[in-house]
């Protein structure tokens, strides 16, 4: 039972709970007591002997981090004997520690150095007692340089008590206490690689490998420690939704995605998952299959999140959205919620943009997209005008709209100006895909796809499905350098694509005005200089690929005319020029975002750009621009993650993908080729998450000047 007690610390009367330690009471009241082994998230052990204080009536100094406040206690933090003991303890620790500080990666951020600065040096001639143990860089993520260890035991407590893992422990080695791995490697010790040990280590003993540490430069803890969330253009809270999935609360997981992006289900199918490219599980084996987890969560969306979503009263303002792709729909979604009337203009028959016309339906089913589009457009504040091409967007301001948002995308495939590109049977990739989606495309027996990115993969896949017998793909990039996501490349290979990497295209051959083949030649020394592709052609390597059709998947551009009729300043040919970070354009009141600004990019980047733009537009229209939402329930992040046998080697869970033969021959009826995760697979995969976000919950390292700065301000 705790009660309020009054005590005196350094002559100052302090009221504290009897549950509080003297150390905590002092710090709470702006009085600094040196402490090293003590840490806000860990049980105190009193082992560093830094926090000793004098207490009236006690013969020996008292350990303030483990002694609770008592009524009438008179504490002297600057007790002479206590200070002498502190100095001795500090002397001792430095005798075990390398004497050079400047070469240490923790230089300037070392709590031992900081505390010794405060406590002061005695110059005592003690014997050096360094720990001769070699650096251990053999483990993934975490490296040990335990010759710097001062045995404060914070890492051991963090791993054993806080995390319930126990991958590291104290052990006497040749009669000398050390912190050691409980096994021959961290993986074999079932380490969860949560890096709590790294976070609490006061010295440079336990750190992350330099390539990981470097990435933290200039980032906040929240950003740097959770690389998946940081890498996502929308900063979707990945660990939070994976934890919800692991807890079986799938709807809440979907709500977490919705806090940042309005199409969780479509994203679950097609997102380029930059999160996965930064996932630290990569260092153990492969990244967590985040996209498929997102899709699984979205499949279990129950709409409960709608109760938590904001909806502001009508503002009386109106916004025109030109282009109903991911960016335009995102903007419309938030603008309507912010109280504005929205009209979406789109040249196509249906909304969705690249989601509908760029990505084949066998990868993203139409009904999934329809449902998410309808969810947005069913808002009574949104009006849709499809089949309407807006020639001059700024004109909409004159028609009474208070703001205009342009996100018309890139829908014109670029045919490279090589001989023969005008022949019949030669088509731009995006045009081909649009025709495929509309059921209007056909191919001959041999198809050559030029390019190696995601669009090229879809063109190849679509060609197989249209009955092509041989699909050749030629691209400048080497196999390793291909820009398409790895799994899409794998799928194309399974379907029988024949790859010609490191090739340039010399000419398209033809007969009677119709293409018959492509002459390709091997290149060496492929590189990019000033945004241009550079390479050397290798003599004598030209070969002819037979082609009834040639598909250029070498880039696409906006359909914006360059004659000035569009009414906005353009750049790099016919892309829309923006003048500010939120998509401001040359015309006040008009914003632009998406592929028409950036060139072809991913859906999630377009959504992120639209979120920035909608905030700016709202502020322009007199709102506060705030679109922050907490749609998911509050999550308890249990720090005690416990031990999972063989955790570090848990393999990435494969989604259920239909076999290549069936998915090609029955593509019209078999539904999406990738069936994603069922519940068992999702739960299994969610366990693999390293839960990097838990590290943010640990108290940041503080130095004496952090406290002393507050001194004098009082409580």
């Amino acid at each position: 039972m705790s009660e309020q007690v009054r005590l005196t610390i350094d002559g100052k009367t302090v009221v504290a709970s009897s549950d509080t330690t003297i150390l905590q009471a002092a710090l709470d009241n702006g009085i600094y007591i040196p402490h090293l082994c003590s840490h806000g998230n860990l049980h105190p052990t009193g082992s560093c002997r830094m926090c000793l204080v004098g207490v009236e009536g006690e013969a020996d100094p008292v350990t303030s981090c483990i002694t609770k406040c008592r009524e009438g206690m008179v504490v002297n933090t600057k007790d002479e004997l206590a200070e002498k003991i502190r100095k001795l303890s500090c002397d001792f620790m430095f005798k075990t520690h390398p004497s050079e500080c400047t070469g240490c990666p923790k230089y300037g951020k070392c709590q031992l150095a900081s505390i010794s600065q405060y406590v002061g040096d005695t110059g005592r001639k003690l014997k050096a007692n360094t720990i001769s143990v070699a650096a251990n860089t053999s483990n993934p993520i975490i490296l040990h340089e335990m010759y710097r260890c001062i045995l404060c035991g914070r890492c051991v407590r963090a791993c054993q008590e806080l995390r319930g893992v126990g991958a590291i422990k104290f052990a006497k080695v040749n009669g000398r206490e050390q912190v050691v791995i409980d096994g021959d490697s961290l993986k074999n010790a079932d380490c969860r690689f949560c890096t709590a040990c790294v976070e609490v280590c006061p010295t440079g003993s336990i750190r992350e490998h330099p390539e990981i540490t470097e990435k933290l430069e200039g980032k906040t803890r929240e950003e740097g420690y959770v690389p998946c969330r940081d890498a996502c253009p929308c900063h979707i809270d990945v660990p939070r939704y994976i934890r919800f999935i692991n807890e079986g609360n799938y709807a809440a997981a979907s709500a977490v995605v919705r806090e940042k992006a309005p199409f969780p289900h479509a994203l679950g199918y097609i997102c380029v998952h930059t999160c996965e490219t930064q996932c630290k599980h990569e260092y153990l084996n492969e990244p967590v299959s985040i996209r498929n987890l997102k899709r699984f969560a979205a499949e279990h969306d129950d709409g409960e999140w709608k109760k938590n979503t904001f909806r502001k009263p009508e503002s009386g303002k109106s916004v025109a959205v030109v282009g109903g792709g991911p960016a335009g729909l995102t903007l419309a979604y938030y603008a309507a919620k912010l109280g504005h009337k929205v009209t979406i203009f789109d040249a196509g028959a249906k909304l969705g943009g690249q989601l509908r016309y760029g990505i084949p339906f066998y990868r993203l089913p139409e009904e999934v997209l329809d449902k998410e589009v309808d969810e947005i457009t069913s808002d009574e504040r949104i009006t849709v005008q499809t089949g309407t091409r807006v020639a001059t967007p700024p004109e909409l301001l004159k028609q009474g709209f208070d703001a205009v948002f342009v996100a018309t995308g890139v829908h014109e495939g670029i045919k490279l100006p090589i001989p023969g590109s005008e022949l019949a049977g030669v088509i731009g990739g995006t045009n081909f895909m649009r025709a495929f989606e509309n059921g209007e495309a056909s191919v001959g027996k041999n198809v050559v796809v030029l390019g190696g990115g995601p669009v090229a993969m879809d063109c190849a896949g679509a060609s197989f499905r249209l009955g092509a017998e041989n699909v050749y793909m030629a691209c400048l990039e080497s196999y390793e350098g291909m820009t398409s996501p790895k799994e899409e490349l794998t799928w194309a290979e399974e379907e029988g694509i024949q790859l010609f990497n490191s090739r340039t295209f010399n000419e398209i051959t033809g007969e009677d005005g119709k293409c018959t083949g492509v002459k390709v030649q091997e290149v060496g020394n492929f590189r990019r200089e000033n945004g241009k592709f550079m390479f050397d052609k290798l003599e004598g390597t030209e070969q002819l690929l037979p082609a009834d059709n040639v598909i250029f998947a070498t880039g696409q551009k906006p359909e914006i005319p360059t004659d000035g009729s569009f009414g906005l300043e353009l750049c790099h040919g016919n892309y829309i020029a923006t003048t500010g970070p939120n998509g401001e354009t040359s015309v006040q009141g008009v914003w632009a975002a998406g592929d028409a600004v950036t060139g072809i990019k991913d859906v999630i980047s377009a959504i992120a750009a639209a979120r920035r733009a909608v905030s700016a537009i709202d502020v322009y229209l007199g709102g506060d621009g705030n679109i922050t939402e907490n749609l998911a329930p509050v999550q308890y992040r249990d720090p005690n993650i416990g031990r999972i046998e063989g955790f570090g080697d848990l393999p990435r869970t494969d989604p259920r993908v239909i076999d290549p033969k069936t998915r090609v021959s029955e593509y019209k009826t078999c539904g999406p080729m990738d069936k994603g995760f069922d519940e068992a697979l999702a739960r299994c995969e969610s366990r693999r998450c390293l839960q990097c976000d838990l590290r943010c919950d640990l108290e940041p390292q503080k130095f004496w000047n952090d406290y002393v700065g507050k001194e004098g301000e009082g409580a």
Partner: protein, 388 residues
């Protein structure tokens, strides 16, 4: 712990129910090993006393903590737990922590022992010394270089009487009381047995035992004994053991030992647990109790007992005034350490001499003596009778 304190704890625990009684035999001093001796020699009485205590607290469970390497004691119906022996386990929180986690660590008293002991159940921990304690009596170990004996004496008995009655010759050497957490007492101090842990052990040192070597090995023991979690104890035992080792190795100077006087009292005041405080007290007490003998090592560079091999590597020398250059010694030397030339004074190479003394035993002139470091000897070939 006094028996009355134990009774209070037992009564308190009895009122709470569902208690655990722990007989702790793993908390012995490594020199005294008093609990172990009691458990061996008074096994029946200890079993009865433990059962009675468990009954007194209405314990639902009984645990016997045995030190590694000692398994000849057990109580029927009690769980036996083998743990490393350590003085650190004298403190109840450390013993509880050991039982709960298997880790040796002096702990903060977080659980408010004994009400929330093991598994949150009331737990009372007692050692054999406390359980078998009788008012006015003291069980103690008398240990010498070659004997160990469990004695039970009346409180107030003069220590000198005990030593005399046990036939231990008076050696004018210091006496160690209580072991690693005890104190070294100068030979002349009159002592009577008190009912304190200091009198768990009487360790008189014999004439042949070197106190510098003893100090070094006591502190090395303490280093082993330390749980090494608290900086002052971990590094303090290491530093002090290294300092005493320097003394035995002839590396000490007049500035060496004052370091113990400097850091010892600070460690005694500042160490986390009673072990750390106790071992520092011992180190400081050694300094005053053994001053004369330690100084011999440092200032005179001599080990009076000849134990410290570093400077008492006994070598022989040939008295140049007595040597007759007859070569008897040369043939006898197994190391070929003696240079011989007819009519020249024979010389012993000190670096090669192992001090076996065979040469001295054959020299009819009695010219070969243990080298005392003072006698002048020739350093180059010198004719018999010409050395000055």
């Amino acid at each position: 712990m006094k028996r009355e304190e134990l009774n209070t704890l037992l009564a308190d625990a009895a009122g709470r129910g569902n208690g655990i009684f722990v007989l702790n035999l793993a908390c012995d001093d490594p020199i005294a090993l008093l609990n172990r001796a009691l458990a061996t020699e008074k096994a029946a009485a200890l079993t009865d006393a433990a059962k009675a205590a468990a009954e007194q607290m209405k314990a639902e469970k009984c645990i016997v903590m045995l030190p590694e390497g000692f398994d000849s004691f057990g109580i029927e119906g009690a769980e036996t737990v083998i743990v490393p022996r350590s003085l650190v386990l004298r403190e109840a929180p450390a013993a509880l922590h050991m039982l709960a986690t298997g880790e040796l660590r002096a702990c903060p008293d977080e659980r408010s022992y004994p009400t929330e002991g093991l598994d949150g159940r009331p737990t009372v921990i007692a050692d054999a010394v406390t359980l078998l304690h009788q008012e006015g009596k003291k069980a103690l170990m008398l240990v010498t270089a070659d004997t160990r004996k469990l004695l039970e004496v009346d409180v107030g008995t003069a220590v000198s009487d005990i030593l005399q009655s046990q036939g231990i010759p008076h050696a004018e050497k210091p006496l160690l009381l209580g072991g690693l957490t005890g104190r070294m007492v100068p030979a002349s101090t009159p002592l009577t047995v008190e009912d304190t842990p200091d009198f768990d052990l009487l360790r008189p040192y014999g004439a042949a035992e070197c106190m510098a070597d003893t100090a070094a090995s006591l502190l090395a023991n303490a280093r082993e004994e330390s749980c090494q979690k608290c900086v002052l104890c971990r590094e303090g035992t290491w530093q002090m053991a290294a300092i005493f080792a320097d003394v035995t190795e002839g590396k000490a100077t007049r500035d060496t030992l004052p370091m113990i006087d400097d850091i010892g009292p600070l460690i005694q005041a500042g160490a986390f647990c009673t072990f750390g405080k106790g071992m520092a007290r011992l180190a400081v007490s050694i300094l005053s109790a053994c001053k004369a003998e330690l100084d011999m090592h440092i200032i005179r560079k001599q080990c009076p007992t000849g134990v410290c091999a570093a400077f008492n590597r006994k070598t022989y020398a040939i008295d140049p005034k007595k040597c007759a250059a007859n070569g008897d010694c040369v043939d006898e030397c197994p190391e070929d350490a003696i240079t011989f030339k007819k009519n020249f004074i024979s010389m012993i190479d000190k670096a090669m001499c192992t001090g076996c003394g065979k040469c001295a035993s054959v020299c009819e002139e009695g010219a070969i003596v243990v080298y005392d470091g003072k006698m002048r000897v020739p350093d180059k070939a010198t004719r018999v009778g010409r050395f000055k």
